[in-house]
Point group: C2
Chain length 192, copies 2
């Protein structure tokens, strides 16, 4: 197997194990040893990807970001020709929300990461950059809809809705039906 492919396959194997263990036990409780056992590799191999807790948290979050991006890009590309801004935003947000087993696992990792960085701000830098980019993208789509008087404020509100529905879903406060209903009600307000 060529070296590059081998590296990519190993990374995927370890990333899968990390997300799986974190989704079951909580990211904070996960150790290097846990992940090695779940991935069926040596602890030395796992250490190649992260040596410290900070690195493990960062690696887990990077994996979740990548996979969410793939999910959403795939769904958006299947929307048909020239989807409108509302349709794009709904696809984006529903794709991130923890509504099935896979996205629930990702959501648990993301929530653990947020709680971790809330007391260690430096560890959250990559996520802050992502949020800025996403905010710009959402602002442009809301502006394209042409109904909001304050597109940037409305975009920040919509990202808050996404994050908050995710938290309420993960905590079992909202059913998937209630969360999707609240999202549609909110989009009705933004795109009347």
């Amino acid at each position: 197997m060529p070296k590059q492919v081998d590296h990519q396959a190993r990374r995927t194997q370890i990333a899968d194990a990390l997300v799986r263990v974190a989704a079951e036990q909580g990211l904070e409780a996960v150790s290097l040893r846990h992940v090695a056992a779940a991935a069926d590799v040596s602890t030395g191999m796992v250490q190649h990807y992260f040596r410290t807790k900070d690195e493990m948290m960062g690696f887990a979050m990077a994996v979740v970001r990548e996979r969410n991006q793939e999910r959403i890009t795939g769904r958006m590309s299947r929307l048909g020709p020239e989807p409108g801004p509302r349709e794009l935003l709904r696809t984006l947000i529903a794709g991130v929300l923890p509504l099935d087993d896979e996205s629930r696992a990702y959501g648990r990792v993301a929530l653990a990461f947020l709680a971790y960085t809330a007391v260690r701000p430096a560890a959250g830098d990559p996520l802050r950059k992502d949020t800025e980019e996403l905010l710009g993208f959402v602002t442009d789509l809301i502006r394209a809809g042409g109904k909001a008087s304050d597109p940037a404020g409305a975009a920040a509100g919509l990202l808050a809705v996404m994050e908050g529905l995710g938290v309420h879903l993960l905590a079992g406060h909202f059913t998937p039906e209630r969360a999707i209903g609240a999202l549609d009600t909110h989009l009705d307000l933004l795109f009347p």
Copy 2:
């Protein structure tokens, strides 16, 4: 000192120490020993309030809920005679958001608790009941505003905005100005 007062004073002392240590180091990282040292009492005294990690998490969340309720009830009672639904909702949400040191400490504890219960659903039962009650209260206020076509859906969306702005503030993604701006933009949509 009468026994009841003594108990209440001790509880407050330990609750303060727990919230302080959790806000600095993360709730998951906090041990009984940490809290005892910060409260300047014996570990046996702390064990009287919680013996297990689950009990500690539950105690911390109960303290945060109580204090938030006091903060918000106080602010609402100072709003003057017959405040409108929009004013009440803004006061409620701005009172919960982590915008100052005190509410930031509470927010960090709440976020850690949510991440903890996302992988241990049973531990989150009390919070689920609270959310239902809050949802009913917010639905009534939105209905009283008389503009929303789906008050329950709009209430779920508004609670999501509150939760999501809290997360984005704690993670340092949003400044206080941006969060309050997004809240006001959202209230403008609900109460046009």
